[in-house]
């Protein structure tokens, strides 16, 4: 589903962020990307999401070369990838319900579908009673669950999370991981960039470790560090 061939990324003037990455992620996989700060995790996520273009190499998503995509095609590929961030990125002036509905309005889904799907995903993340709450009234864990709901409401093929538990306490982090795991069970490919060692160790999923821009380890059912 996701393939990278000889991908390198260097930022203007900055150091090389990724070097000669070859990678294949199959449909329905759950993958952790780990490594110290500056190892290239965020860059890899940005490349997957076509926020950045690689300096060298090709990236395929569902058989489509996203490095050769026209700018106006980008929105349509993004609709097939749900994004979750460390800082949740909810719109503070919109209610929980509106925040999730927003993701569907943006892709011009019919109102009937919005009415049906939003309560469905709210149920899934366990927040049906918070539909009318504003993001500011929620705890960090609850906000991240809303963000997850927004990421999956479009039935994306993949969900990419950049440090999704970075701002959360351990118990809440566990809940989020459990949710991600549930979403994965429905067939959605999950890619999580994280620092959270204990979580990675206990999940027993594929682990790709980056260091200084290189893949130094790629292991099915791995731990944060050997």
């Amino acid at each position: 589903m996701i393939e990278m061939y000889g991908v390198s990324k260097a930022y203007n003037k900055g150091p090389v962020a990724l070097k000669d990455i070859n990678l294949k992620i199959e449909k329905g996989e759950f993958v952790f990307i780990v490594g110290p700060s500056g190892a290239g995790k965020s860059t890899m996520i940005k490349l997957l999401f076509r926020e950045e273009l690689p300096t060298k190499g090709q990236i395929f998503f569902c058989g489509k070369n996203i490095t050769r995509m026209k700018p106006r095609e980008i929105p349509y590929i993004r609709r097939r990838i749900g994004m979750v961030f460390q800082d949740f990125r909810l719109i503070p002036q919109k209610t929980v319900y509106e925040n999730i509905a927003f993701a569907l309005q943006v892709v011009e889904a019919p109102q009937r579908e919005i009415n049906r799907k939003v309560p469905q995903v709210l149920e899934m993340v366990g927040l049906p009673h918070k539909a009318k709450a504003m993001p500011g009234e929620l705890s960090g864990g609850e906000q991240q669950r809303v963000a997850l709901a927004r990421a999956i409401v479009n039935n994306p093929d993949a969900l990419v999370a950049d440090e999704p538990t970075g701002n959360l306490d351990p118990d809440t982090s566990w809940e989020i991981m459990k949710l991600l795991s549930d979403i994965n069970k429905r067939g959605t490919t999950i890619i999580v960039a994280t620092h959270a060692r204990e979580l990675v160790d206990s999940m027993k999923k594929r682990v790709i470790q980056l260091d200084k821009g290189y893949i130094v380890r790629d292991e099915a059912r791995g731990a944060y560090r050997k």
């Binding site: 106006r72 929105p75 590929i77 993004r78 609709r79 927003f102 943006v106 011009e108 479009n154």
Partner: protein, 290 residues
């Protein structure tokens, strides 16, 4: 794009106008203020033009005939003068007509019993008042024409002045228009900046650029529209007041009535909307690059 989506855009635009009401008020204020300045200059310059055209049309040449010219000569001369390039109109004024006019001007009693000293003359108007000096030169050379008068010197100076006044007016107007667009683009940039997170999120969930752009364009156009409507109201009321005052106190100057400017009002609404749309699209451009 679906119609319902557009409905949502309008809703979004209005909701955001209201949510950022202080910012919106600032934008409307900036649009109104710049358009009031622009409009004042416009009103001034159109009126100035109108007064100039008035003056221009009054510039005419008087050609006095020699006393020896008879009726036949007069008819022939009229034809000849009409044939000069750039001449619009030739009117014959007889000795008697001229005397009547003179009497009207100075009073009948004073001239009672006096023999008519005035010669026959032609009054000539030019197509383009700027050609008056040249036409006058040509008329001087015509046979049986005694003397040609046209306010020599004054006409040249006047046209020189008009020429420069127009150029300076135009420059000032262009500068003010540019300043208006700059202020508006900046104010709307604030609105866009305040909503940059929202734009960022829209791009992440797969919104097309136009989908992101439309609500801001509509918001900008609404701001521009309200701003220009306010400027039209204030300019209209102000102009009417000045019109009345001038009419009462300075009868020599005839300002154009407000009804002459209705078209400008419509144009102002369009300009306001355009400025708003331009301002938002300048401001949003940077935030679309995600």
């Amino acid at each position: 794009m679906r119609i319902r989506t557009f409905g949502n855009f309008f809703k979004e635009a209005f909701v955001s106008l209201f949510r950022n009401r202080w910012m919106s008020l600032a934008s409307i204020g900036a649009v109104a203020a710049s358009l009031i300045v622009l409009g004042s200059f416009l009103l001034l310059s159109v009126n100035f033009d109108h007064i100039l055209v008035d003056v221009e049309s009054q510039v005419e040449i008087t050609a006095y005939l020699e006393d020896t010219a008879d009726d036949l000569d007069i008819a022939r001369l009229k034809g000849e003068l009409s044939g000069i390039y750039g001449v619009k109109e030739v009117n014959f004024v007889s000795k008697e007509d001229a005397m009547e006019e003179f009497k009207e001007q100075v009073g009948k009693e004073l001239l009672e019993g006096l023999e008519n000293p005035l010669p026959n003359s032609f009054r000539i108007k030019a197509d383009n008042p700027q050609d008056v000096p040249e036409i006058a030169q040509k008329i001087e050379k015509v046979e049986k024409i005694d003397q040609v008068k046209y306010g020599k010197g004054i006409v040249e100076k006047l046209f020189n002045m008009i020429h420069w006044a127009r150029i300076i007016g135009l420059v000032i107007m262009v500068v003010f228009a540019a300043i208006s667009i700059f202020i508006i683009a900046n104010t709307i940039r604030l609105t866009v900046f305040a909503r940059r997170r929202e734009i960022n999120i829209m791009k992440y969930v797969g919104a097309t650029d136009w989908f992101v752009r439309w609500p801001f364009l509509i918001e900008g156009m609404i701001l521009g529209l309200i701003g220009s409507a306010i400027s039209i109201g204030i300019l209209g009321a102000g102009y009417n007041y000045i019109y009345d005052v001038v009419k009462l106190n300075v009868p020599m100057i005839s300002l154009l009535p407000l009804s002459n400017f209705y078209d400008y009002g419509l144009a102002f609404l369009a300009v306001g909307m355009l400025i708003g749309a331009l301002g938002s699209s300048f401001s949003i451009k940077r935030f679309l690059r995600v």
